[in-house]
């Protein structure tokens, strides 16, 4: 009996050791599965479950936590584009964004074009919120801007509109900004209309009481507080209301989404 037990222990030890030494991913072909389009569709189902569960749990207008001024991060990490660069954007910086225009069009009854100064004269909201990056870190910052709902009411949303697409001035594929909205690497994002109508969703122009700086998205950026950092589009020039974003750029609703990230970034 003792001999059998020892033999069994040996088999167990070898099996366990083999499991630990072999690549975890190789054992069940994780890499091959990841590359398979049909398996990706299976994994992607989780995004739909998460989205519908969170929609169910989040009361309409459930507010993201707001913090005290003393909670603000001394250094708010900038990520993605630090400076869109290029002749056109550099000139905007030099002119303090006097010529910057935000255009709101698409499925609206009254397309709008607003300068930064005009936006600053509209009713504003200030909030100190936590920014959660998809990478795992968090930073707390104070934001002031125009509630997006206010702009949408002014523009008149058509009933067929379901999403807002944000076109940005930065290009993440290393090219300085050329101003083209759908050139490869051009940053863009999209959110659902109901998230755009949330009272904490802002087109922000101030950060911690000062005009947005270039690394954090000058002159205008999005704050949509129930989602991760990559949804908070910077350097916004154009907001388009659409019923569907499948024909825009890579078709997944954003720069990072076209690179494999989930469109719904609530987790």
């Amino acid at each position: 009996m003792a001999i059998i037990t020892r033999r069994q222990a040996l088999i167990g030890g070898l099996a366990g050791g083999g499991l630990l030494l072999g690549s975890c991913s190789k054992i069940f072909q994780a890499d091959a599965l990841t590359e398979s389009a049909s398996f990706q569709r299976v994994l992607a189902a989780a995004q739909a479950w998460t989205l519908s569960t969170q929609r169910l749990l989040l009361r309409r207008n459930a507010m993201a936590q707001e913090y005290k001024p003393s909670d603000i991060s001394p250094h708010f990490k900038a990520n993605g584009t630090f400076n869109p660069g290029g002749e056109w954007y550099d000139r905007q910086v030099a002119e303090r964004f006097a010529d910057w225009r935000l255009r709101i069009d698409g499925l609206v009854t009254h397309p709008l074009t607003l300068s930064v100064a005009e936006l600053r004269r509209l009713p504003s909201r200030s909030q100190i919120t936590r920014h959660d990056c998809v990478e795992g870190w968090s930073a707390i910052g104070g934001w002031t801007g125009v509630p997006l709902a206010l702009l949408l009411h002014a523009a008149g949303v058509r009933p067929s509109a379901r999403f807002l697409v944000f076109y940005c001035a930065d290009n993440l594929d290393g090219e300085p900004s050329k101003g083209g909205e759908q050139s490869p690497g051009q940053y863009y994002e999209s959110i659902a209309l109901e998230d755009a109508m949330h009272p904490q969703t802002l087109i922000a122009y101030d950060m911690n009481g000062k005009p947005l700086d270039v690394p954090h998205g000058a002159p205008l950026r999005l704050r949509v507080e129930q989602q991760l950092g990559y949804k908070q589009a910077k350097y916004i020039r154009h907001i388009q209301l659409v019923s569907d974003f499948r024909r825009i750029a890579g078709g997944h609703g954003g720069y990072w989404e076209d690179n494999g990230y989930d469109w719904y970034a609530g987790i």
Binding site: C24, D71, H75, E135
Partner: protein
């Protein structure tokens, strides 16, 4: 007969044909335990691997609400090697797809297990330690250290350290789900109290890692115990349910 009943569901059904002198085979694990065990094993394996892959995107852990490169790190880690992560190359987007899909599998499987275990009284009968069990902790620790495994009637029920370890794993898995959800900015708006209770979003992330580390420790000890108690008999009992009771030493 009395012994049969007190031994609980673990030793519930004796295979009549197998009652021969010197070799007693019992039906040790009910099928819902066996099915959820293997789903859970695969799921934890993938969740740990994809979790480490996600952690590679920012291998620093903080305490409190906030934390990034400029803040003091509670724990600083290095990138996890390719052979340990799922998939086997660092890719945050792909790792998140694996992680969140199998997080759902973990939750559904866990709810099925919990419901069945409570309704069938598996938890109350086989896992919850009795007063006698608790008194036996010191001797059970001694037995484990000396690698003396229970035999005969004692082998038909979980010993007290097993009971505590399995209940602990249940708690840890619940902790993983709660700390995982607390990292979600969406859920934070729905249940801000949860994040505050855990000490902040970055604390939740740190706890998520520490709980996962504890689960890996559990698995290491669990596999070692299976190996020592007899791989073939133990693994067979978790696949088919049939378990050969080790004979009492004469």
């Amino acid at each position: 007969m009395l012994m049969q009943r007190t031994a609980g569901a673990l030793a519930g059904r004796r295979h009549a044909a197998d009652v021969e002198p010197g070799r007693e085979v019992i039906h040790r694990h009910a099928w819902p335990v066996r099915v959820t065990h293997w789903i859970n094993a695969l799921t934890l394996f993938i969740l740990v691997g994809s979790g480490l892959n996600i952690l590679n995107a920012h291998p620093r852990l903080y305490w409190g609400q906030k934390g990034s490169d400029f803040d003091h790190a509670f724990i600083t880690l290095h990138a996890w090697p390719d052979w340990l992560i799922v998939p086997s190359y660092t890719d945050l987007a792909d790792a998140r797809h694996w992680h969140f899909f199998f997080a759902w599998v973990l939750v559904v499987n866990g709810v099925v297990y919990l419901l069945w275990s409570l309704l069938s009284r598996h938890i109350q009968r086989d896992l919850w330690p009795t007063t006698a069990d608790l008194r036996a902790i010191p001797s059970s620790i001694r037995d484990h250290v000396l690698l003396r495994h229970p035999r005969g009637e004692a082998a038909k029920r979980y010993n007290v350290l097993q009971r505590l370890a399995y209940l602990g794993l249940l708690l840890l898995v619940c902790g993983m789900v709660v700390t995982g959800l607390a990292m979600s900015p969406g859920l934070d708006a729905a249940a801000p109290w949860l994040v505050w209770a855990l000490g902040g979003r970055q604390s939740a992330r740190t706890l998520h890692f520490l709980f996962a580390f504890s689960i890996v420790l559990f698995i290491a000890v669990h596999l070692a115990e299976v190996a020592l108690a007899g791989v073939i008999n133990e693994v067979r009992s978790m696949i088919t349910g049939r378990y050969t009771v080790p004979r009492e030493r004469s």
